[in-house]
Symmetry: C2
């Protein structure tokens, strides 16, 4: 299935839409279970180490992505973790202080799920930098890997 | 001192600038000490009850504002609490799901402090609704009350 990523010029938003062949409860679990999330978050070939991972409202996360080219750290806090929704902050530790806020909703399509995500950045420039970093490839490949995890669980 | 509040039309941002006659450490403490924050956050005549208040990176808050006309709940999580910066989420529980992200910086002006705040909302509409709610009065009056707290501590 294809991932739609929209970054309207001149705005600080990124919108993502993707369907998965599993119910919302399974998609949520893949986002909140530490044993599952390390299997799909990040591009193909990326290894993920969880330093902290407490996926509930008021919890926090900190992880490191590693591949042959180097490593990148990320951290954030969970404002909301509910059956149909996750709202979390996101900071790439290579650009500290540029924190974005991501709202994901999981819509039940009758055994399938539409994941809709909306990220807001502190400025249009910070959003543009994120887009230019190759973020689209990372998201598209993550969701391809998530398809596989959902098939196997 | 006067509070400058900027909400550029067609954007999801609110920017605030305010100077205080106290050093950054005192302004930070007024934001992170539960005994102090209840004395100034909110308009004149508003009573503030803390349900949860853990003002450190990874912590959370939940409070209720009450006056003769009723009560309003707010909650959020702290992404960053450092000497010169607080980054936190903010949700008015009367409009659940519309979460904004606020970045405050405390700049040392030599014994005085400039507080600069930038909030980003999930949409231009959510930002406009917040502005139309009378938020400006609440912020301006909060900072007048904070002047008094800083004088006394």
């Amino acid at each position: 299935m294809s991932t739609t990523i929209t970054a309207q010029p001149g705005t600080p938003f990124i919108e993502i839409s993707r369907e998965f062949a599993a119910p919302p409860s399974a998609v949520l679990r893949a986002h909140t279970d530490p044993d599952l999330i390390v299997r799909w978050l990040g591009p193909h070939g990326m290894e993920m180490e969880l330093i902290e991972f407490d996926a509930r409202s008021g919890g926090a996360y900190h992880y490191i992505h590693r591949d042959s080219r180097g490593e990148h750290g990320f951290r954030g806090v969970y404002h909301t973790v509910e059956a149909d929704r996750i709202i979390q902050t996101f900071e790439y530790l290579g650009a500290p202080g540029e924190v974005s806020l991501e709202s994901m909703t999981f819509t039940d399509l009758g055994g399938r799920t539409r994941l809709s995500s909306r990220s807001v950045f502190p400025s249009v420039e910070a959003r543009d930098t994120a887009v230019e970093s190759g973020m689209n490839t990372g998201i598209t490949q993550s969701y391809e890997r998530l398809d596989t995890v959902l098939e196997e669980n």
